[in-house]
Symmetry: D2
Subunit: 373 residues, 4 copies
């Protein structure tokens, strides 16, 4: 199968998530990066493109230029990865979707709910695909957990405990830290800080695994670091349709936590516990029996999305690559005019994430009043 011709918007030198998308696209050898609008600074865009081996004429200064030029080439890109700060997701995505170019977009979907709704409308009307990289759903054990829930191994879900804790914003960020700069700027990141950056991942993962739909939430958000304009810590009570309840904690000011996303789910027949920092194991307790340690591609049967045998750890990039490979399945099907049932986060998941952030921010402003979502 010919590799999918991929472009990238954002992800120039020094960016974190752009490099991640490139690793992820490369791992299973189904994409070839051939074009980029890697930076809004022309010189940096050019340097970054050359460094990545792009042809000079396919290094662009803007996503608009790239969308137009690539759409008119016979060998133009089939898909684009959007890895800019959040406020650029919607305009960039629309530019490509409207030209029939598939979009693989980083999360959260947009910086505002208004944009999210508009983009959702556009994406659903477009012929091109829209894939959102809620990458944690790509971990094999999270897929296995989802299947276990579907298979009734946990019984009726009662309680969901999900956390995403980091510590990198414990102090006022270094002004030279570009990540910190835009992620704490509401104009670029959106009204949610930790809620938008990591809370959305936690929320998405909890729903992915449990299959539950949120009914309402009550949020108490804080900005502990003086002068910070967005939340850096959030405590959220969750009520799901059907009666399950949950708690969600997201924090960027919790020293000792690098990237500690954890999910625990409890039903009337069993419980599950998993943590992202060691993603190759998950604990499962059938009520009344000893806890089992389920391993990725081990005796547990968790084989969906694995590449190598159990005991040979796979990590963040491999999970991320599973989203890219699911997207590749769908894109290859689209080449043939077919549809695939590949599993990846959609624009609806993205909209749900922005609705979540919006509800958190409104609830917190209303003293943690319940907000229906």
């Amino acid at each position: 199968m010919t590799r999918i011709r991929l472009g990238m918007v954002g992800g120039g030198k020094g960016a974190f998530i752009g490099a991640v998308h490139r690793y992820a696209s490369r791992l299973d050898d189904r994409y070839e990066l051939v074009a980029g609008a890697l930076s809004s600074t022309p010189e940096k865009a050019r340097e970054s493109g050359l460094e990545l081996g792009l042809a000079e004429d396919r290094i662009y200064d803007s996503f608009e230029a790239m969308a137009e030029a690539e759409a008119s080439r016979d060998d133009g890109i089939e898909a684009v990865a959007i890895v800019t700060p959040n406020h650029m997701h919607a305009p960039a995505a629309k530019a490509f979707l409207s030209r029939g170019i598939h979009v693989i977009c980083d999360k959260p979907l947009t910086a505002t709910l208004e944009e999210a709704r508009e983009l959702t409308r556009v994406a659903e009307e477009a012929k091109a695909l829209f894939v959102l990289t809620h990458n944690y759903t790509g971990y094999p054990l999270m897929r296995h957990a989802r299947q276990m829930v579907k298979d009734g191994k946990l019984g009726t879900i009662r309680v969901v405990q999900v956390e995403y804790a980091q510590d990198w914003l414990t102090e006022d960020a270094d002004p030279d830290n570009k990540q910190a700069d835009w992620r704490t700027d509401p104009a670029r990141s959106g009204a949610g800080g930790s809620t938008g950056d990591i809370g959305t991942h936690a929320y998405n993962l909890a729903c992915f695994v449990t299959g539950l739909e949120l009914e309402s939430l009550a949020a108490d958000l804080q900005s502990f670091v003086p002068g910070r304009r967005v939340d850096d810590n959030g405590h959220v009570l969750l009520r799901f349709k059907g009666g399950a309840r949950g708690m969600l904690w997201c924090s960027q000011v919790a020293p000792g936590n690098e990237n500690r996303l954890t999910l625990r789910v409890y039903g009337d027949k069993g419980g599950l516990s998993w943590g992202q920092e060691n993603p190759n194991v998950m604990e499962f307790t059938p009520f009344g029996e000893p806890t089992r340690i389920l391993t990725r591609n081990g005796a547990s049967g968790a084989t969906d999305g694995v590449r190598i045998p159990g005991g040979h750890p796979e990590g963040y990039l491999e999970g991320f690559a599973n989203i890219y490979s699911a997207a590749a399945d769908a894109i290859e099907a689209a080449r043939r005019g077919a549809r695939s049932d590949a599993l990846f986060p959609t624009v609806q998941d993205g909209l749900a994430g922005v609705v979540f952030v919006d509800a958190c921010v409104r609830s917190s402003a209303a003293d943690a009043a319940w907000m229906t979502v």
Copy 2:
């Protein structure tokens, strides 16, 4: 030093916590159990007393009879352990306090807030001591954590995450399970189920370690098991005076959790994480440095309340015994007409616990409205 003469109310055959109190009183050899009103069933009281080696004339059918008889003996008990269901704590405690007999009482303080206030008044006016067995404060690493917070090792506390999860009430309890029977009966346990039984421990421990005072809370409580009359799961948002925030989760329906009390505390200079099921280690991260594994009586300097060298695990009974030994310090000081500065949970801690439960129940009834405590 002569052993302290101890009586016991409750704790007959088959009881859990009565036996724990006896182990705890014995470990450091500072008490001698000499009298008991071990059951409200006379025959069972007698059998239990004989089994424990009590003299026949010091086995009583009721705490009232015991209080009166022991108070009039020259060799009467100096202290009494109260280990009955919650609704009996107040009447029993008052009977002994009023006769100058020190009280060591299990938690929660009482079944109702009214009783708690009344007992607090009585205890504060009494000459005898009142000790509440919030035993988890007896763990050496929790004492060390408290000292670390005091010493500023964590800086200003921002976030408290405390959980107490069990699974033993995941299903409708066996009617022959006496523990389950009274602990899910609001007349005997009080209006809080999991909140009263274990949430109070979690709340107490969080305050003990951080030194914070709660300002208000918002609680969403559930009774997942059909027919259950008290909460079996609770999600609580915490706001402490001075700006720190927290989350508290208590559950008795979380399969895979035996007695998983965990505490995590984050300040602007560092974070701490500890779990009761392996209480001999605690993680401490000074912000920006690698996490340290602090061990009980190891290189960490956590020596308060230890008996044996690091690497030789101490457990639940040893932590519980530390409360008894602190009480013994205070009782021995009282013998000499002196005061000790021994550290143990007081009637005020007990009152705070009942206030907490009451606020949780009222908040939950008001759709998780904030309640000031």
Copy 3:
């Protein structure tokens, strides 16, 4: 049941293991310490005895005096705990055994093989009982492991990996450290250093759990600290009767290890893994299935020797107390002229330990030649 009247030889102020024996004897309330020859320094013996509440006339300057005096009292001790340095075990034990007083002796049995053989002969001919405190066999999960092996859960045992690592002798010991002083003095501890002090525990535990008998060993022992007269690190290859093989590592110079005794056992049907520093959990893998986390008194069914529910950790003292309680069962049976089937380490286990140390030392001197035991 009347408490067993207990004496103690050794264990004066500042001693480690004497205090442990007292805690252990007290926990289940079946012994009362009534006499002691707690130190070979009369003044210290007296001070220590008074501190422990012994009557003045039952504080002795020597074990000989104590044996004689107690044997002639109507209320004389029924059992004695011997907690001296190793070279005193044999003479003290013989003095009491010969007078019909039961002996509970710390390990290793003796400082020399000659003494061990002689003491074994005496003990086997005596009417009194001899109990050796290989306390790690008292842990409930080690008893459960033993039962699992017996029940065939692991199939035929092939491989045993046992380790006991500490770090307290990493540097030349402080001359004021009495523990270090005698434990590194071959005249008092015996020819084995780490092998005798902790290697014997590891060896005993491995045999206890697996039921295997050692056939031969090859040992490479080291004294890493300059000037040290006994081994402080030992590497031992094990060949068991029937074909199982093993490795044993003991070390007192391994920084980061406080008291890390671990045992792993592998058969053709499954494997087990346990570590003493968190003794309340054990991993069990039936071949081809996910690993189970078995907990003490949890869903695993490991109930032998437990006092409190799963999730409420028990530790070193509780395990040690199980040896004392087994001894109490046997002593109470002896009072009635009966025999008990209580499980505790015997003089034969002690002899096996000294044989093990002797073989290690001889093997190492012969360049790790195989020694049949």
Copy 4:
């Protein structure tokens, strides 16, 4: 920089390690697979090649044909990955080296010591590079550990404990399992079974981190599964030059161990502990201080070979890719006629591994006699 043109010998459909090499070569985008002799069965070679997108004329039936044809093309391969069973390593490697094509070869170097010596001679005389994929040296924390040892953080090394345990050969292998088939066939794998397949990894890693050189060893090897022709479990005593000692355990019959390579190193100033199954953390204890948890790309400063921030786990493929990228550095330098100081395992490391296996087998045959290496 133009991608390095890569060929592959072995690694057809269904092979494990061939796929791993392809992932590893692709991750950092520095290689392009353009030719292959992927199977000794022509039809399978062809199918596998087409599946991988190779041009038809660069799919070969034999490594000889490939070496000859590629060496004569202007756009011929610059490097070849050799991922066949062990007995084919030497002939294939020599064919390419002699034509100036760089070799990246899986371990162990060869099936026999004779071949290893011959290949070493050839490789050292060749102009082309020889890289051996002892991939575990590619883990960032293993590189960090090596640097810590060099920096004296552990002081003088005394004790090395290294283990590599698996369970996949616990039972007689399924005859359809190609991996098991050749790996237990001495003609193809060499005289060592577990020692050759995984013991060499353990040995290599221990030397890589500590910088120690082995002086002699004593090995007790077993073939527990009836009919097995090579060892499936090995116990090895190690004596290093300079006085350090060690133990090495390798096993393929230890149920519950998927791919459990662990390394612990103890010096007079500190200790290190690391396990491959969760390779992103390592424990470090400076003697007398609390243990530190060092994380990959976290506060520990372990940045060599990392791609993404701490807390975002990297795994087996990323470590493996670090070997490929170091090779790429060296190959790119060679293009310019320069030399690089890139760190990767060499033919000498490979020779040392085969010497190790040979010594283990001879020692075990001589009843674990010491063999100088």
